[in-house]
Symmetry: C2
Subunit: 340 residues, 2 copies
Amino acid sequence: MSTGTELTNHQFRLAARPSGLPKPTDWEYRAQPVAGPADGEFLVEISHLSLDPAMRGWMNAGKSYIPPVEIGEVMRAGAIGRVIESRNPRFAVGDHVSGTFGVQEYAVSDGREVRKVDPDVAPLATYLGALGMPGMTAYFGLLDIGRPKAGQTVVVSGAAGAVGSVTGQIAKIHGCRVVGIAGGAEKCRLLTDELGFDAAIDYKAEDVKAALREHAPDGVDVYFDNVGGDILDTVLTRLARGARIVICGAISQYNNTEPVRGPANYMSLLVHRASMTGMVVFDYADRFRAASAEMAGWLADGRLKVREHVVEAGLEAFPDTLLSLFSGDNVGKLVLKIRD
Amino acid sequence: MSTGTELTNHQFRLAARPSGLPKPTDWEYRAQPVAGPADGEFLVEISHLSLDPAMRGWMNAGKSYIPPVEIGEVMRAGAIGRVIESRNPRFAVGDHVSGTFGVQEYAVSDGREVRKVDPDVAPLATYLGALGMPGMTAYFGLLDIGRPKAGQTVVVSGAAGAVGSVTGQIAKIHGCRVVGIAGGAEKCRLLTDELGFDAAIDYKAEDVKAALREHAPDGVDVYFDNVGGDILDTVLTRLARGARIVICGAISQYNNTEPVRGPANYMSLLVHRASMTGMVVFDYADRFRAASAEMAGWLADGRLKVREHVVEAGLEAFPDTLLSLFSGDNVGKLVLKIRD
């Protein structure tokens, strides 16, 4: 049996399915008392919320790789918190934990799909970024689906984002030539000057096709696509023979109110004997531990640099902060820190 | 040195790049004297011309998997003929040969990429179909790219065509459940009643999505796509997890005067962890001999049935006969037989 607590839990629940960008009225902000943990459970005080483009897809009805968030449910989100009460022998008060705790201040968990994280190894926010789902997405999408060989050219879109910035650096570690596509001169400078990309293309200012001709003169061997739309279509025209396209996301299409535009140049797959393959990070869960350990090693020796954009604000800031993912303003992993 | 002959060679040369369906004015019909073979060459009297959807693509300018036919060149075509004069020790007068001899009555060859064919093993037209490029396309596209396992569901579009009809039968031989998509009741009857498909969907009369739900209730494991367009988009909504889409052609798009429409549902690749891969049959040339031998065995034991649509007419019939590929009237491998 669970018991009551003196705590109040603020939450964002899904109030309506958005058309286009989520509006304030698509959310319900609710306060309710925190129930204590039942036997086998523990109570988490959430400190960091992961804000990801994929969340937009979870708000839509219909079949996808994961069930949608239902109307009235707490919005799904990865989060980091601290155990403050426990009736589960595997989790002790004071443990830092990572899990899909939702957009709220407190969560009760039975420990399934929750992992302990160590703030001495990396800052807590990093467990939502390079050592969390974005990092795992980059690692398995690039290495398992993209299968780059040393010396090959890897192009990454959304390259200044949480996934793209890590993808490009892993490709560098594997000896590839890496070209990032991002929006704006500042993001492009970050890629080349701080993260070690060989070249960056500012899609807002440059002709992407011409820039690919310059920076990937032998064609693109691996394209890691986070954005879809025009950029996917353009990269399709510059494939090397046998190219692998990793379909990781399509942020350009997530807030469409019109139907998604398919890649008109898809027959380039035939011309270049290329493939386009979708990936979902959860499929690799049984290898997360090993991948995280390898990534932590790269972090420690400085070969992998992380960029986190930590917004420190109350939970109320969630709706507006989420929107910054889609405006192009965000660089690196976006985290909403609601408590120290 | 080559010598003159008394023969006249009629040819179709490309006069203009078509917009949409090829028009009569896109062709030049020319008569010219036949030059005899030089040392190392032989002269072929062409009897059968292969008419294939891919020819439409070869008429377009621009980079593709094969150089375009240039304006003024004899139109490229696979063909079967008989050696009538030879100065090449590997080819004797009377040999039947298959090669890319072009849309003409006579061709001189040095023997490169020419193979001898045996009319006692199979009718000559079959060497342009099941034992020719369409058969090789079906074999390698399905088995190497599609990689179906026994018990899985294979869907083939353009299923009554030269490639599709063979693809479905190879999938059956490999123990799969096979669903063909074709236009018209007659083609659909052919698939189920004569070629052993488990089900056929008449895309002109049926709701393809609903029919897929019925005939592929567990989803589509392998989709062999010859058509592109709406049908590709619809199959994308019915994929099984880990599905493989083989991009072999896109006949619905070849005569577009508007830009190709990309598959709007391509993000289904992510939802279903699926892949879409292009294939070009020429890449498998070093395995054609073994594949042909296996296919000939299936022909001999009746497990593979071929449908050839042999139009017996003069070379002048070429332009109109080619168009029948795009009107949906053709069933099986289209061959223009210009001589006994």
